[in-house]
């Protein structure tokens, strides 16, 4: 009987490779190609090579740096709270808690909800006069209403709050999984050494969670940085007065409102390269730490 040749696994991989090439590599390559041309509403069929013009425009316009700052704040605040809340809730849930299953299910619900429904519901809740949040602030805490959607600063806080609510369950589930894999004898040894709760958390729990948390934080950072939906829907397309845009929502607007395809492609390429640099840096750092360990 003939045996399968060494090429057999590759032939099995072929369909998936073709799909990957078609849906990932081709659009990526096309974006790069487009970024060096002048495709727009007025040059849709007659676009030509313009070299680095689009990149020069992107990097010299002040809006790029403003949006970059906002994107970093958006990503940093979101990921911090996703991880902090996720780990905290995971630790609470991994302890002796009554109704653990129900609590866990309820806490995962925000993640299970379609993002656009959550975002639009939150937008309704942020209304100045009729929204649930201001009504709660007013009736329960006797605080003045907050102009969540009309003040530029609060209008940026609103999508951040929404995204924190949407994102912490993922980190909680990841941390819960990580917690179950920590051997109990590590805690017993720490107790023998006289460690208190905080010391056990910093010296046992957190280091043991890092192998699962680091890739999740990396993923979370990229997802959050590239999250168009929440900002776009909660702020209704950057309102008020385009003050709530982050890089990716602005790119969306430039591409699909102004039809400046090549300019938007150059913007996307810059964002892609930034994220690629971040991922390479983090992966190198973590792998060098692993080697040191």
């Amino acid at each position: 009987m003939l045996r399968a040749p060494r090429s057999f696994p590759y032939s099995l991989l072929l369909p998936a490779t073709i799909v990957m090439l078609a849906v990932v590599l081709f659009p990526l390559g096309y974006s790069f190609w487009l970024a060096f041309r002048n495709m727009s509403l007025y040059h849709f069929r007659t676009h030509e090579f313009v070299g680095l013009d689009n990149f020069q425009l992107v990097l010299t316009e002040p809006i790029f740096w403003t949006l970059l700052g906002k994107s970093l704040v958006w990503t940093g605040v979101n990921v911090f709270f996703h991880v902090a809340l996720g780990v905290l809730l995971a630790i609470l849930l991994s302890g002796p808690v009554r109704g653990k299953t129900i609590l866990r299910t309820m806490l995962v619900l925000p993640w299970a909800m379609p993002q656009y429904i959550s975002a639009l519901t939150w937008r309704g809740m942020f209304n100045f006069e009729y929204g649930a949040i201001n009504l709660i602030l007013k009736q329960w805490f006797h605080l003045p209403p907050v102009p969540w959607l009309s003040d530029p600063t609060w209008a940026f806080v609103a999508p951040i709050l929404t995204n924190i609510w949407l994102g912490f369950p993922f980190m909680m589930v990841v941390a819960l999984g990580g917690l179950t894999s920590i051997p109990a004898d590590l805690y017993e040894a720490a107790e023998l050494d006289g460690a208190n709760g905080w010391e056990k958390f910093t010296n046992v729990t957190l280091p043991s969670l890092m192998p699962v948390l680091v890739p999740s934080i990396l993923l979370g950072t990229i997802w959050t940085f590239n999250n168009t939906l929440v900002v776009w829907l909660v702020s209704n397309g950057g309102q008020p007065a385009d003050a709530t845009h982050i890089l990716v929502t602005y790119i969306y607007k430039v591409a699909f409102t102004y039809s400046r395809y090549s300019y938007a492609a150059a913007f996307s390429v810059v964002v892609f390269l930034m994220l690629l640099g971040f991922v390479v840096y983090v992966m190198r750092r973590t792998s060098s730490q692993e080697r040191t360990a």
């Binding site: 009987m1 003939l2 045996r3 399968a4 040749p5 057999f8 696994p9 032939s11 099995l12 072929l14 369909p15 998936a16 073709i18 799909v19 002048n38 727009s40 509403l41 007025y42 849709f44 069929r45 209304n127 100045f128 006069e129 009729y130 209403p145 102009p147 959607l149 009309s150 003040d151 530029p152 209704n236 309102q239 008020p240 007065a241 385009d242 003050a243 607007k253 699909f256 409102t257 102004y258 039809s259 400046r260 300019y263």
Partner: protein, 412 residues
């Protein structure tokens, strides 16, 4: 495990998997299945869609073997999706939506010039205000005109609508009490600012086609709407977008609202004793003049010759006086066909007559592609003035600068 598989069987499996992956891509294009099936992508309100489905059913009953498939989109997605699909050689045969979509779509050469596509004399049937010429061609066959903003009021609270700015303010102030606002309006969208801009003798483009946003008229219009919205005047909610205004009016918590004919059916259905009137006379003694536009059908460049007659026939049916009259009476929109425009069903209906009169006071919305930019740059300035973070003068200046920059970027 792989090693135990026979050579031929292993390659057979790999080939089968490859076929499974590639098979969907070999399926025939759904939109090009001959004259028997016409696909239309449309932007319609729910009531309008329900009415359109009835027209489709009537057409299909009269043309056995022809299937019309209507796919609804919102305004933005309609243009974007069609742009993507049609540029790739696919998409529907027909696209139905507001007249301003023909600007970008004609520039991208994705729709056919209908003055050359439809039978000779086809456009003679329409009232002149229904037709938009761009670059010397007509790009859409309108089945309705309007889109004009009017003053809608709750007759239970407002027996007689205000005729001028003084009456309006007095009435709105008097009505603002016990959880009811005298007035509600979408102050976040520049389309609602446009009637006031025109009323103050301004317009979005100058005669040379360049944006004209930094003008005394713009400053006056922004100032006037800001006055209506202000806490000191106190006739409107602190935040008021389309949804809030509409909900308040439907719930009887707003006595007056500025909205268009598309909203009336829902108001009546919601139990509002609806009255409509032209927008009031502004403090400068001139009427606020709404933008007017049409909605219509454009034909994709991708429709093959053999399918074109069927598509033209369906468009002709949808723009017939009978179909337009049915829609006008059911939806409160105005017909574009001359016969329907002058029909007693329209001229003797008090609401439609007022709407017709208000329409004739309006100014046509430009359909040039730059209009999208102008809307978009007006929005931030308007919102800044409404939330009190910018003066009308600075907002007007900012709008003009942004418009010039973005239009230059678009043309680069």
């Amino acid at each position: 495990m792989f090693r135990s598989l026979p050579f031929r069987a292993s390659h057979l499996i790999a080939c089968l998997m490859l076929c499974l992956v590639l098979a969907p891509g070999c399926a025939p294009k759904k939109s090009a299945t001959g004259p028997a099936k016409i696909v239309i992508w449309s932007q319609m309100d729910p009531e309008e869609r329900a009415r359109f489905e009835k027209n489709i059913a009537a057409y299909q009953a009269a043309h056995p073997g022809v299937t019309i498939e209507n796919v609804p989109y919102d305004t933005e997605n309609l243009r974007q999706q069609f742009q993507t699909a049609a540029a790739g050689g696919g998409g529907p045969q027909l696209i139905f939506g507001p007249s301003d979509q023909v600007g970008p779509l004609s520039l991208l050469e994705l729709i056919r010039p209908l003055d050359e596509t439809m039978p000779k004399g086809f456009f003679d049937r329409f009232v002149p205000q229904a037709l938009d010429t761009l670059n010397g061609h007509l790009w859409a066959a309108p089945d309705q005109v309007g889109n004009h903003l009017l003053l809608c009021y709750n007759k239970k609270l407002v027996p007689v609508p205000p005729a001028n700015a003084t009456e309006f303010l007095e009435m709105a102030k008097k009505l603002t009490k016990d959880g009811v606002y005298g007035f509600a309006m979408n102050v976040n969208e520049p389309y609602w600012l446009a009637p006031f801009l025109a009323g103050y003798d301004g317009w979005v483009f100058a005669a040379d086609g360049k944006p004209s946003l930094d003008t005394p008229a713009m400053r006056d219009a922004l100032g006037y709407v800001a006055l209506l919205k202000s806490k000191a005047t106190g006739i409107m909610p602190a935040e008021c977008d389309y949804q809030i205004a509409e909900t308040l009016f439907l719930e009887g918590k707003a006595a007056m609202i500025v909205n268009g004919p598309w909203s009336w059916a829902a108001y009546r259905k919601g139990g509002v004793d609806l009255g409509i009137a032209p927008l009031w006379v502004l403090p400068n003694g001139k009427h606020a003049m709404p933008m007017i536009a049409s909605k219509g059908y454009s034909i994709s460049v991708n429709v093959p010759k053999e399918q074109l007659d069927a598509v033209i026939d369906f468009v002709t049916f949808c723009t017939s006086p009978e179909a337009e009259l049915r829609d006008a009476v059911a939806l409160g929109v105005l017909p574009s066909h001359k016969d329907a425009w002058n029909a007693p069903e329209i001229t003797s209906d008090p609401t439609l007559k007022i709407s017709q009169d208000a329409f004739t006071m309006g100014r046509r919305m430009p359909v040039v592609p730059e209009m999208r930019v102008v809307w978009d740059v007006m929005r931030p300035g308007l919102q800044k003035v409404m939330n009190g973070s910018m003066s009308p003068a600075d907002a007007a200046k900012e709008m003009q600068a942004a418009a010039e920059q973005q239009i230059a970027g678009m043309k680069r």
